[in-house]
Symmetry: C2
Subunit: 301 residues, 2 copies
C-alpha cells in the first residue's frame, strides 16, 4: 500500500482525507491553519510543511481554494516540489484554472513525477458522504493506478482526457449550471410578471425540451424562495471568473457567461452573494422590480 499525503483540510478536504484514513491508508497531513483533531485521532500524521508531506508520501492530494493557493503550495517556500522525488504523484482536487494546471503539471512532470487534476462537484454534503462527482485529467495509467483511491471519496468518476481536462470539464459544468439558473430565472420571472403562476409554468415545462436538473431543483427553490445555501453565489462567482479568465487566455468570446457574471455582481451589490446560487433570480427581481410569484398587475386589474 502506497503512503498518502493530503494538503488543505478545510470544509471539503477534511472529510475527504478522513475517508482515506478510514480506508486504512497512512496519510500525512498539512494545512494552512491547524489540522482537525478528529483526523489525528483517526490515525492521520501531522507534518509541519508541504515539503515534509511530499518527502514522506508517494501520492500527494491537494484540496485548496484557488489557483494562487495551489501554485504557492506546489512551488513556494516549503512547498511540495521541494520534497518530491522521482515516481511520486500529485493529485490536485481543487477547482482551479485549466490553463495554469497544464503549466503546473509540466513543472511537476519535469521532476519525474505524475500529475492528475481531479476537481469535484457535490459540495460539503458530497465530501462527507463520499459521493462526489470527480472529473479527471490524467494519463490512462495514472487514472487506473489512482482510481481505487478516488473511489473512497466519490462515486461518479470520469477520465475526461489528459492533464487539465478535468479542470476544463469542471469549468464547463459551472458555465452550464450558472446559465441554466439564469435561464430558469428569466423564464419564471417573465411568466410571473405576465400574470401566470410560476409553479404551474415550471410544472408544465418539466415535460418538454426545457427540462433540466436546474429547472427541477433550483426552479423549485426559486418558486418556494428557499435561498439558504446550498452552493453560494460567491463561490459560483469564483468559478465563472475562472471561465472568463480561461476564455480570455484562449481567445474565446463567452457572451452569456460574461453577462451572468454581471447578474452575480447585482447580487453582490445587494449583499446577496451568500445566498444559494438559485438566488441569482433575485438580481432579475431587483432589475425588473417584481418578485417571483407576487401578484402581477394583470391579476389585480
Amino acid at each position: 500500500m502506497r503512503t498518502l499525503g493530503f494538503i488543505g483540510l478545510g470544509i471539503m478536504g477534511a472529510p475527504m482525507a478522513a475517508h482515506l484514513i478510514a480506508a486504512g491508508h497512512t496519510v500525512h497531513l498539512h494545512t494552512r491553519s491547524s489540522i482537525p483533531a478528529s483526523l489525528l485521532e483517526a490515525g492521520g500524521l501531522a507534518c509541519a510543511s508541504a515539503t515534509e508531506v511530499a518527502q514522506k508520501a508517494d501520492i500527494v492530494f491537494l484540496m485548496l481554494p484557488d489557483t494562487p493557493d495551489v501554485e504557492t503550495v506546489l512551488f513556494g517556500a516549503n512547498g511540495v516540489a521541494a520534497g518530491l522525488s522521482e515516481g511520486k504523484t500529485v493529485v490536485d482536487m481543487s477547482s482551479i484554472s485549466p490553463v495554469a494546471t497544464k503549466d503546473f503539471a509540466a513543472r511537476i512532470n519535469a521532476l519525474g513525477c505524475d500529475y492528475m487534476d481531479a476537481p469535484v462537484s457535490g459540495g460539503e454534503v458530497g465530501a462527507k458522504a463520499a459521493s462526489l462527482t470527480i472529473m479527471v485529467g490524467a494519463t490512462d495509467n495514472t487514472f487506473a493506478a489512482l482510481l481505487p483511491l478516488l473511489q473512497h471519496m466519490g462515486k461518479n468518476i470520469t477520465l475526461v482526457g489528459g492533464t487539465g481536462d478535468g479542470q476544463t470539464c469542471k469549468v464547463a459544468n459551472q458555465i452550464i449550471v450558472a446559465l441554466n439558473i439564469a435561464a430558469v430565472g428569466e423564464a419564471l420571472l417573465f411568466a410571473s410578471k405576465a400574470g401566470a403562476d410560476p409553479a404551474k409554468v415550471r410544472q408544465a415545462l418539466m415535460g418538454g425540451f426545457a427540462a433540466s436538473r436546474i429547472l427541477e431543483v433550483h426552479g423549485e427553490r426559486m418558486v418556494n424562495r428557499t435561498f439558504k445555501p446550498g452552493f453560494r453565489i460567491a463561490l459560483h462567482q469564483k468559478d465563472i471568473g475562472l471561465a472568463l479568465a480561461g476564455a480570455k487566455s484562449l481567445g474565446l468570446s463567452l457572451p452569456q457567461t460574461a453577462s451572468v457574471a454581471q447578474l452575480m455582481q447585482v447580487c453582490a451589490a445587494h449583499g446577496l452573494e451568500q445566498s444559494d446560487h438559485s438566488g441569482l433570480v433575485q438580481a432579475l427581481e431587483i432589475m425588473g422590480n417584481h418578485q417571483l410569484g407576487a401578484a402581477a398587475p394583470s391579476h389585480t386589474a
Copy 2:
C-alpha cells in the same frame, strides 16, 4: 357533437385539422392560400372566409404564423368576429404575444364567446403524430369542455392558468430552450478550445447538475455537427422576439434573453438562420474563431 372550424392550414395546421376530421367531426376550413386537397377528400368543408367559418362552426381553431396574422383573421375584414354569435368558442393554437392575447380574448368575450389560448410545441413531427405538447390558458370550464378535442392533436396537455397564460408558458419554454442551447454551446466550445474532447465532456456532465434535455439532444447535435432542422433558428428568433417585446411591455429586464437574440443575429448575418437551433453554437464558433471539436492549439504544441 359540436361543429368545428379550422383557420390556418399550413405545415402545422393541416395535419392538426386532419386529426379532427379523422375523429369524425364536421370541420369547416379556411386558409390564406388554398385548402389542401387531402383535407377536402377526407370530408373537410371549404369556406370562402374566416367569417363564414365562424358563422358555421361552434368552435373555431386558429393556427397562424404570428400576432398580426391572428389579429387580422379575428378582427379584420371578413374576419372571425364578424361571424361569431353568443356561446361560440375561439381556440388560438398559434404561438403569439401573451399581452395581445389578453386583449384579443377580452374583445371575443365581449361578443359573448369563450376564448382559449393553446400554443403547442413539438413541431411538424408532433403535429403529424398527434403528440404535440399543448399549453393552455382558459377557464376551468372551457378547458374541460375542449380537452377531448385537444387530445386528438396532442398528448402532454396542461391548463397553465387563465387566458394568456398558455402563451406566457410557451414564451417561457422558448426562453429556457434558447438559453440552455447557448449554455451548452459556450461550455462545449470552451472545453474544445481548451483542448478537451467535447464529446467526453458532454458525457461527464450528463450525470450532474448540468444535465438537461438540451445537453442530451442538442449537445449531441453540436458534437456531431448535425444542424439540419429540426427547429430553425429563424423560428426561434421569432419566439425570442415575443419574449423581448413582452418583457418590454411588462417592464422587465431579460439580459440573457436579449444577449441570445444577438447570437441569433450572428447566425443570420452568416446565412445560418435556417440551421437547426442547436446550430446557434456556430455563432460562438465564428466569434471565437474555433470550430467545436477541431484540434486545439494546446494539442498541436
